[in-house]
Subunit: 237 residues, 2 copies
Amino acid sequence: MNIADQTFPAADSANEDRAQAIRDQLRDAIVDRRLAPGTKLSEGEVGTLFEVSRTVARAALQMLSFEGLVRTERNRGAFVANPSPEEARQVFASRRLIEPGIAIAAAGRMTPAHVVAFKAQLDEEGRFIVERGPSARRSEIKASGDFHLLLASVAGNVILQRFMEELVARSSLVIALYGRSGISSCGHSEHMQILEALETGNAPRASALMLHHIDHIEADLDLRVRGGPALRQALEL
Amino acid sequence: MNIADQTFPAADSANEDRAQAIRDQLRDAIVDRRLAPGTKLSEGEVGTLFEVSRTVARAALQMLSFEGLVRTERNRGAFVANPSPEEARQVFASRRLIEPGIAIAAAGRMTPAHVVAFKAQLDEEGRFIVERGPSARRSEIKASGDFHLLLASVAGNVILQRFMEELVARSSLVIALYGRSGISSCGHSEHMQILEALETGNAPRASALMLHHIDHIEADLDLRVRGGPALRQALEL
DNA sequence: TTAGAAAAGATTGCATACGATTTTTGCGAG
DNA sequence: CTCGCAAAAATCGTATGCAATCTTTTCTAA
């Protein structure tokens, strides 16, 4: 696996917790689907990959399990989460509840610098959409999530920001699992509309657009159980 | 079945993760104000107290730091969180955003068993209010939080439920820090009104009542900085 | 007397070791 | 050939040890 392809520990992350750095890399790998749901992440393996002891690897896995990206079973190990359709629905129900409010808060705090950041974000997003292929699709899902994270950071509530980080990460997993193909071009245009509403300070419109946007994302999922949940459970791993 | 499982942490949690059991006890102590904000929680001390190694104590502290109840500083240790007024405002802003939606969801899922559980909860809450004294006041804060947690469990979204657990725990800390005295009797009656709306399936009313209730809780805080934030920062441990 | 530096002490970060539990493998009986 | 069972391997849970870092104390010099 090329998950730990970071050569030098950057000066910044060397000063920080190594477990946190490993968590970030693993999270990226999970959200990008380089690690498939259900993949076993043994402490020893993660430790050797990142050249740390099991202690540190274990701490990283524990953090991911708090975020819901990894499920751990006692005396068995850690596995990349494999969210059920029901979990997927709850993720989007949570987003429907939270994100319109975040959009309203953000609309009242937009600065020109924020607008610039959003424009750059949307440009990047657009680049991945014109490309095709599995790699571009992964980047597209990630970039789409980054839009929502940027919005949450503008809203200025660190607690809600952390909630959104978790929800966006889990959404990426869900989209990768249950997503249909040709969705996100429409998502991109909706992001642009939302930015427009934010720029003009039209909070109600931004909020309503966000709600529709989330609905559209969820509507483009195929949440029917494939072959029944029991079978799925039995076959996984 | 949702409030009944708050029994003694004896046989069940001995079989479970010990770190989790320690986390629960520490969280209760923090929420109950038996551990004052700013108190140092050294790994060794926690370990000896609970008769486990530093490894296990460390894991428990890490969990609490994820929940925002404990703040850890590298190479310095863990301390009971000391939320700033700004953090307090963000906690309640988050609750204003999330809890009305939870009330709506819960209103659509109430069963007679839920009603019984709520009645029992409110009875207990009332008992602590007639009593006076610091111990009763702590129990009162905790019982008041339990009402909101029960509501979240009825709503049936495990993700939102976890968010609410964090928000309620942090709220308890904030109330203990910034709360004025004679607040909660009014809170109790509001809880009863909310239950009434839930029983009759009046979701909009339950939602509106919840919003007012949160406003009232926050209004009864004194969030003025005491002596300036710089001084506060300088003096605290 | 006080400022500053050096040593002592305490605490965390991390690695490693060992027992416990689970999973896999190997082998013989049916 | 399949099934069951026991031994082996793998993996986790936890304790402990050592080095690094931070804090406190102590000692010296202006």
